[in-house]
Amino acid sequence: MTAIPAFRLLDSEGREHVWPSERARLLVFMHAGCPTCELTLPLVEAAHAAFGAEIDVAVVSQDEDGGRGLREKHGLRATFLDDSALAVSFEAAIDAVPTAVLLAPDGNELARFEGFARADWFELFARMAFRSGRSVPSLDWSQLPELRPGCGSRSNEPDVAARLEANASGSPLRARRIELGESDDPVEFLFDQGLSDGLPVVPPTPERVMRMLAGTRRAAQDVVAAVPPNYAPATVEKIAINAVMAGCKPAFLPVVIAAVEAVCTSEFNMHGVLATTFFPTPVLIVNGPIRARIGMNSGINCLGQGNRANATIGRALQLVVRNLGGGRPGEVDCATLGQPGKLTMCFAENEERSDWEPLHVERGFARDESTVTAFAGGAPTGFIDQLSRDARSLATSYGLVLAAANHPKQYMHGEIVVVVPPEHVDTFKRGGFTKNQVRARIQEVTSRPLRELVRDEVCAEGLPVELLERLGADLRVSKFRTPTDITLVVAGGEAGKFGAYFQGWVSGPLGSLMTTRKIEDQGGLR
């Protein structure tokens, strides 16, 4: 089997040269500006003169002019083949130039070497002489250096390698290719096709998608999940396409993949989260070493704008649901008002800023594992406690604030996420408060007699009146069904005694449950 693909290349005179052919062939891949290539040229010319009648000898030029300049500069007669498109160099896996490859007519490689080594050429000439029945040309070998390293092949340059890989015969890409007209603006085209969230998206060219796929070790055609509402199969490639559109870097891709896995579970219930008239959307919380590796923000303004990883990971997930799952506002997404988190909502926990166990450890993962946790939450609601100097007072504030989540008379609330800022962390620490003590205080503070919470003539909203008979009017009820429904996450800037909570939706097995997935393939960057 040959490592040199079949090709049709033009020489400097416009004649077509086809491989494979009936004759043996010596190909020397090179480009101008490489001193070792120029050093090799007299040997190529000598091989052409000595063996050309029996063996085709050619330079495969990676230059834009197809090697015309180099050929004229050195006054050579040897054939120069134009591989300025670099497709043959790429498929032949040329890493460095010069690379000499001697091929038998059946396609077998008889020899291949990179750079310049006098011994390699000496042996090559002996082999060609044997095959052709011609004499080895007389050369003053002592004038040639023993060894010279080559230069990098242009087919390996970062800006062209992804393009070449995307278009090569072994390309992992399978998605439908859309050819845009000369006058089409790709960004406007994507708006017109309804493939944007309302902000400009990055056009997902094959090169960009190839570069994105380098961020994961998973195969491009692996199916990660079925994305509601259409339950479309999300391959790694399709997720990568949407991640490009969102503006992700390749290193973010494993987080996006894990986020897609998390929301496309029966527990998370993305279909319901999308379809409801209420506010929820996936709130993504990232834990573990990957936070630092990809530069996520868990500090100042971490729920806001300005950090590429935070902003684009959440956006990529939303685009997967929109473009792949078919979940668009006004169709399956029937939110009355919606909220800005439906563009993106992703942040990292500041695990190092507190003695508390971070979220992923509480949820059964090791501290050195990276995870993404998806919560069906509303927009963040900020709250203030600038005056509490002891932990109990601060936890009381938390209870008073959270009692009003969704509605002051909507009790038996399910999950909620509370973001605790560093200054509050310090106050809780001074009082020696654990997370469970904060939770218990919240439940204590929010406790109210059932009679105050049922629907009545003053306010029709509230718990069903029938509960009064069943449970008694004096029964004290806490805001949350269980203390563990209250998730405490540490994040935010050093200054400011301001926390925030993400209100929940229909929480529990009949609605949505917080879901965590391990981010599997870290360090997959090539």
Partner: protein, 92 residues
């Protein structure tokens, strides 16, 4: 010329045709309550009015276990077996 990759599931959209209208008011109609607040109030009133106007029609009531998820397959099958039409009450 720019080439981009399709970010969608590449399905050709299929438009569903409405069921043919016979102009005959008989058969069984499912009234499906998705259990959103006051959905039952709407269905009660609707059933009352439809019974007055359509004496030849039978009405059967069904409930989803939760409004947050699509109706379970067995419920959909039961409705399909027992009824010719469905009216679903969305309370919003």
């Amino acid at each position: 010329m720019t080439t981009i990759l399709d970010p969608t599931d590449e399905r050709v959209p299929i438009r569903r045709a409405l069921a043919p209208r016979h102009g005959i008011s008989t058969g069984t109609v499912a009234l499906l309550d998705i259990i959103k607040p006051r959905g039952d109030v709407l269905l009660d009133r609707l059933e009352e009015r439809l019974r007055e106007r359509l004496p030849g029609v039978t009405f059967r009531r069904y409930r989803k276990p939760t409004f947050t998820k699509p109706a379970p397959l067995d419920l959909r099958r039961r409705i399909a077996e027992e009824c010719g039409f469905v009216i679903e009450a969305l309370a919003d």
